[in-house]
């Protein structure tokens, strides 16, 4: 390579590196704009009180609930540090759901929020938690990737409570004891919500065949969705046929980001006679919705898709909305709100809290009105699960 070529290469590399950095910055750019409104007024005040003693805040909160134990709109004067996973507020998924819970806690409980997300490579999770703990009495970490860092940071901050979403935070080698008095794990009974959408699928199915697309199999989490879905469908129709298919197996997590493969799988399932398909595959779900639309338009008879985690009717492209029968809701927002509420009442509990149907931690959506005719039956199943008359399995 001649010297001129070398310089061109260098400039090109620098340009590429710089552009990729800027692209990374723009990726999360939307939150800069949305943050500003709330950031402005708390900025000076948060900076000023950042060094303040966390205990002082906690005392304030205690006083408050002693005074207004029963009042619905209490003024909880403490700081909640919500720590997102990569993507942060504005990802239209997991993080956004957590953000909704925080917003609700701010307006209903009057807590002061501080939000943060790690570097794009996830290198500074522990530092973020520590900084949040410096000024907050409750630190909520969104996602199981924070589990190890919370175990390390929490003992250093005994006056601050920590909650991790999607990890039980129990020491299973030690009789499933909590990792610390100030560490809570917030998990969800995904199988219960899946049971209800499984029942909905079976009630709506005319062919007697259903499909289940799992994003990534082999690590236990997605199998819970399949087990609940199958149990719900069989509760309606014991003879129903369910075709389960996982896109990839752990640790290959591409299955959550493979819309094209989900689309292929969905089309094959529709070919085999399925007329309702449920996905627990994150971003790959878009492929299922496209497949439902394509197949419905091509054959003239409507086939359905079922969404997951959030009310996907509201987040997808409007052209595929009419094919989304319902969505299994995983109410991360409720979990964030509930743990904040518990903190405000001085009722923070260490260890694993499972958000299930009884606490509206999971559920199903009715957007679009496609399940309006079967809501009574679904509510009936829900009541039976809450009452313990139906025990939903967690393994297929």
């Amino acid at each position: 390579m001649n010297p001129r070529g070398k310089q061109t290469w260098k400039l090109l590399l620098a340009l590429m590196a710089a552009l990729s950095l800027i692209a990374a910055a723009c990726g999360g750019g939307s939150d800069a704009a949305s943050d500003d409104g709330t950031a402005e007024d708390t900025a000076t005040d948060a900076a000023a009180t950042a060094e303040d003693d966390a205990v002082e805040d906690e005392d304030g909160a205690m006083e408050d609930d002693a005074m207004e134990e029963d009042a619905m709109a209490m003024e909880a004067d403490f700081n909640v540090g919500l720590t997102y996973d990569i993507g942060g507020r504005g990802d239209q998924s997991f993080n956004d759901s957590a953000a909704a819970g925080l917003d609700r806690a701010v307006s209903e409980l009057g807590v002061t929020p501080s939000e943060a997300e790690p570097n794009a490579d996830g290198s500074n999770r522990a530092e973020l938690l520590q900084l949040q703990a410096d000024q907050s009495t409750l630190v909520v970490a969104v996602g199981f990737l924070f589990a190890e860092d919370v175990k390390a940071v929490a003992p250093e901050n005994p006056d601050v409570n920590f909650a991790v979403i999607d990890d039980a935070m129990l020491d299973f080698d030690n009789g499933a004891a909590p990792w610390g008095d100030n560490i809570a794990g917030l998990t969800f009974a995904e199988e219960q919500g899946s049971f209800l959408v499984g029942a909905a699928a079976a009630l709506k199915s005319e062919s007697g065949t259903l499909g289940f697309i799992g994003g990534v199999g082999g690590f236990g989490l997605i199998e819970k969705f399949e087990a609940g879905f199958a149990a719900g469908a069989r509760a309606v129709n014991p003879d129903i046929v369910i075709i389960p298919q996982y896109i990839t197996m752990a640790p290959d997590f591409d299955g959550f980001f493979a819309a094209d493969r989900a689309q292929e799988i969905a089309l094959a399932m529709y070919d085999q006679g399925a007329d309702v398909i449920y996905h627990a595959a994150g971003g790959s779900g878009a492929g299922l919705f496209e497949a439902a639309k394509a197949r419905s338009e091509e054959s003239g008879t409507k086939v359905w898709a079922i969404g997951v985690d959030s009310d996907q009717y509201n987040t997808v492209d409007p052209s595929v909305q009419e094919y989304i029968l319902t969505s299994m809701l995983k109410r991360v927002d409720n979990a964030v709100f509930e743990i904040t509420h518990a903190q405000a009442n001085g009722e923070f509990v260490a260890g694993n809290t499972v958000y299930d149907l009884s606490s509206d931690g999971v559920g199903y959506s009715t957007s679009g009105g496609f399940v309006d005719d079967i809501v009574d039956q679904l509510e009936d199943f829900k009541a039976q699960i809450v009452a313990g008359e139906i025990v939903v399995p967690t393994e297929p």
Binding site: M1, P3, Q7, W9, K10, L11, L13, A14, L15, A17, A18, L21, I22, A24, A25, G29, A32, A33, D35, D36, T38, T42, A43, A46, A47, A50, G81, S114, E115, A116, E117, N119, A120, D121, G122, S123, N124, R125, A126, E127, L128, Q130, L131, D134, F144, L145, A147, E148, A152, V153, P155, E156, D167, F219, G220, L221, A250, P251, D252, F253
Partner: protein
């Protein structure tokens, strides 16, 4: 007649200074445009950066960045564009963590085994690109990018299921390495000159390895025969060959050395932090290392400075968010602007120097005739 001393010093200092100033101005404009107070933002960053705990964060962040920078720079010095540091360190980190988790040895031996296996694996993987270049003439840019995909997509993804101990765990990874394979933290070194480090911050012991690597890099490149051969192959491969430097051998040396250093990039995670390879394993350091090498002009002190600067900026992103001062993206924008401005500034300074040289030469020849 020589270029005046003052002018030479001025030129050396001018490039980083103007780049820094330019970056500061652009960042201030971006901050104000997005509705965040620029002065307040810089004040928070500075105040936070001067805290002992943040300094530990900065050093911890700078350590792998510096190693990745050195790995990239070894190649750059002889015109080899090794884009493969990314795949090399991830593969080396994964396999070394697995090897480390499957044995229990006395302390120093255990750590030594992990470090050596990481270096050997990184060197071997990078060596593949070297062999391809030497025997088949495959451009190393292409081969290293492809090797990145093979390392992460095929080998790590394919082998990880075999390493997993608990298939029901949410965070899948290799088993945790036994305590004998943990590198002690170096908090005590800092505490000799400062107060006690609180908040659970631990200065990674890998920083000692990074310093040794930096010194070896500097000495070998500037003070030994092989370093001279390497640099001359980079500056002018034809002249070097005419001068008796075997080009193929140099390519192999450089590729293996760059891979060996790349293998160390994941060590803070394995030896100090997580003691396992799991889904939280840091990705992207290989590419960040290219930026560090560019900013540091491929020399050891320069890259150390660049790594510290990037480490400081990264640690600022956390405090800016938590204090709701500014969006964390400002940090990425600053890094990008500094990098672009520095490359442009160095280029301008280079041209001024070249012009000076030409003037000097013509003056000298004029005087001689």
């Amino acid at each position: 007649m020589k270029t005046p001393l003052l002018r030479r010093i001025g030129l050396t200092v001018a490039a980083p200074l103007t780049a820094g100033l330019f970056a500061l101005i652009v960042s201030a404009l971006v901050l104000e445009a997005s509705g965040s107070p620029a002065v307040e933002t810089f004040r928070v960053m500075l105040e936070n950066g001067l805290k002992l705990e943040t300094m530990v964060d900065t050093l911890n962040r700078a350590t792998p960045l510096f190693l990745a920078g050195v790995a990239a720079a070894i190649g750059f010095r002889m015109n080899l564009f090794n884009i493969g540091v990314e795949g090399q360190y991830i593969l080396a980190g994964f396999l070394a963590a697995w090897i480390g988790a499957s044995v229990v040895l006395p302390g120093p031996l255990h750590v030594g085994l992990i470090v050596v296996s990481a270096m050997v694996i990184g060197g071997l993987w990078s060596g593949i690109a070297g062999v391809l270049k030497v025997t088949r003439g495959v451009n190393e840019v292409i081969s290293t990018i492809m090797l990145n995909f093979i390392a992460t997509g095929a080998i790590v993804a394919g082998l990880l299921p075999r390493a997993i101990e608990d298939p029901t765990a949410t965070n899948q990874g290799t088993p945790t390495i036994a305590e004998s394979g943990w590198l002690p933290n170096l908090n005590w070194v800092l505490e000799l000159v400062t107060r006690d480090i609180t908040k659970g911050r631990k200065l990674t012991g890998v920083i000692a390895i990074a310093i040794v690597v930096g010194v070896i890099y500097h000495v070998v490149l500037n003070r030994t025969r092989i370093g001279f051969d390497l640099r001359s192959s980079g500056m002018n491969p034809f002249a070097a060959r005419a001068g008796g430097v075997p080009p193929k051998k140099m390519v192999m040396y450089a590729m293996i050395a760059t891979g060996m250093v790349a293998g160390l990039v994941g060590m803070p995670e394995i030896l100090s932090d997580n003691h396992a390879y799991d889904q939280g394993f840091i990705q992207g350091l290989g590419f960040a290392g290219i930026a560090v090498a560019l900013l540091g002009r491929n020399n050891a002190p320069g890259m150390a400075f660049a790594a510290l600067l990037f480490g400081f900026l990264d640690s600022s992103s956390a405090v800016l968010q938590v204090r709701s001062t500014a969006s964390s993206e400002i940090v990425t924008i600053m890094q990008a602007v500094i990098l672009l401005a520095a490359v442009v500034a160095y280029e301008i300074v280079n041209r001024i120097r070249q012009r000076d040289e030409v003037q000097r030469a013509s003056l000298l020849s004029g005087a001689a005739s």
